[in-house]
């Protein structure tokens, strides 16, 4: 009756065939979340009461022939920056908010409920989604997120628990958020598949705001196919989020035989750590089975500085009350209690300059992408940072991430997929970056990749 490492489609088929009970599936997930999940520092709250109620309802409805679709009866976890009603705390990963509750559900939580999914846990995250500038893994009141692949390796952030819970087979999917790297990073380090949708594809209502023009919500799952199923359930306009676009989204299950035109930005693979670089080169050779790969050069722009200034300026305003009011003194990471004050150094004119440049970059990159199906590159240039040590990050300017800066600043969709292993056994990842609103294209590319490889079917022991 276990749902370990089984995809949404596989679980759904078993549920509909009467071989699997949503109630027992939810129970099994919660049991592992309480044991393995706690050991990985991946869990804030196991939402037992709500899960059992939703699972029982799913059983009743499916037995009565009322099928809400592919997520009906499927357990999931939500990053703990998504508001949940019913006395379930929403902590934002921050000790000062460990008991804070909201009266309503975030739109994403509500949409998943409407789709019949079963919320089994609120998952751990870096405090304030990393918006205070953390530089080492111990930056959450639940402890540093641990990768299911090694007890001394970081799960990545800021969607730490979402990555660990999926990578360890504790839930079939989880919801994470990305401002810059917070879905693709944990997906990479935990060996999961993570989809960052186009900015505005998914309502942010009820989600903690870090950067109003950069924040996106998206799924982490075992496969690209599952990410598509989840995206369809959570996408769409929302009167409570003016940036949620009215564009309809329907996931189309791709063909494994589709062919693609890929681009690789010169220098992005070589800029990765040697362990990642070598694995990526091998993956790119393999990727030629599904398409052509052309090396390209992008216009010379300060992509990372642009993204950083937008992130820090908006974050300073979003958390102004917490910073000025001294709430940050109660945070876990010592650096998170200090560096936010530095953002007062960003002048309004420079923030606006970054926003103006972003518009230019968005047009330039769309022109490039119009000639390809996707840009391919590392989903993370580093492999498995160790607990107890500082990690390198583009957000702090200590490691390059041109694709992450462009993709997030321009609001473009990307999917990160496992593509190999570093010599120390930790997973590495590759991303497909697409045009705005073209999630189905990057999903199709990832689907074709996963139809030919088994990196996403190798589990940690």
């Amino acid at each position: 009756m276990s749902g370990e490492f089984r995809t949404i489609r596989e679980l759904g088929a078993d549920i509909r065939a009467g071989r699997l009970s949503p109630l027992l599936l939810a129970e099994a997930c919660m049991k592992r979340l309480e044991t393995v999940g706690r050991a990985l520092n991946a869990v804030v709250t196991v939402t037992r009461e709500r899960a059992l109620e939703q699972a029982r309802r799913a059983e009743r409805e499916l037995a009565a022939g009322h099928d809400r679709g592919p997520l009906h009866g499927i357990p999931y976890g939500a990053k703990d920056l998504l508001a949940t009603s019913g006395g379930i705390p929403t902590t934002w990963g921050a000790a000062p908010f460990r008991d804070r509750c909201f009266d309503e559900d975030a739109t994403v939580i509500q949409r998943l409920e409407d789709a019949g999914a079963v919320l089994v846990a609120k998952l751990a995250m870096v405090e304030f989604a990393g918006g205070m500038g953390y530089r080492q893994p111990n930056a959450s009141f639940t402890g540093p997120g641990i990768s299911p692949w090694a007890a001394d390796a970081w799960s990545g952030g800021s969607s730490s628990g979402s990555g660990s819970a999926v990578g360890a087979g504790l839930v079939p999917f989880a919801i994470g958020s990305e401002t810059w790297g917070s879905i693709l990073g944990p997906a990479t380090y935990c060996g999961a598949t993570g989809l960052r949708p186009t900015y505005g594809r998914v309502s942010r209502h009820g989600a903690m705001a870090l950067c109003w023009t950069l924040d996106k919500l998206g799924p982490l799952a075992l496969t690209a196919d599952d990410c598509g199923l989840v995206l369809e359930a959570i996408a769409g306009a929302d009167p409570r989020d003016a940036t949620a676009a009215a564009r309809a989204y329907r996931y189309e299950r791709p063909s494994a035989d589709a062919r693609f035109r890929f681009a690789v930005v010169r220098g992005t693979v070589d800029a990765s750590e040697p362990a990642v670089r070598d694995g990526l080169r091998a993956a790119l050779e393999r990727l030629r089975e599904v398409g052509t790969i052309e090396e390209i050069t992008l216009p010379d722009r300060p992509y990372e500085a642009m993204a950083r200034i937008i992130l820090w300026a908006e974050g300073a305003s979003a958390f102004d009350r917490l910073i000025e009011g001294g709430v940050i003194d109660g945070l876990t990471a010592p650096e998170d209690r200090v560096t936010p004050y530095a953002r007062d150094a960003i002048l309004a004119k420079d923030y606006l300059r970054a926003l103006r440049l972003r518009g230019v970059v968005a047009r330039e990159i769309d022109s490039v992408l119009s000639q390809f199906d996707a840009i391919v590159g590392p989903s993370r240039g580093t492999a498995g940072p160790r607990l107890g040590a500082e990690f390198r990050s583009a957000i702090r300017g200590s490691f390059p991430d041109v694709l992450g800066a462009i993709g997030n600043a321009a609001g473009l969709p990307a999917i990160g997929v496992p593509c190999g292993f570093a010599p120390d056994g930790l997973p590495i990842g590759m991303q497909f970056l697409g045009r705005a609103w073209d999630e189905n294209t990057v999903l199709a590319a990832a689907y074709a990749w996963q139809a030919r490889t088994d990196f996403h079917r190798q589990w940690p022991v």
Binding site: R301, I309, T339, Y341, A342, L357, V360, G397
Partner: protein, 64 residues
């Protein structure tokens, strides 16, 4: 430390020094230097005069 970083750090020190110790102030100084470096890179980039910031502001009017 550039003159601009010096001036901006002085502003931040004036606002927040009472909350911070010497080590934290030094960390803050480095963070300000990083911001000033990023901003200098941004200012050096050519942007068309007609490039707008693309903020999604819309006038509000309650119904009716």
């Amino acid at each position: 430390m550039t003159e601009e970083a010096d001036i901006l750090f002085a502003l931040i020190r004036a606002r927040y020094a009472a909350r911070l110790d010497a080590g934290q102030l030094e960390e803050l100084r480095k963070a300000v230097e990083g911001i000033v470096r990023d901003v200098a890179t941004l200012r050096a980039a050519t942007i068309p005069e007609d490039a707008e910031p693309g903020q999604p502001f819309t006038p509000f009017r309650a119904v009716p």
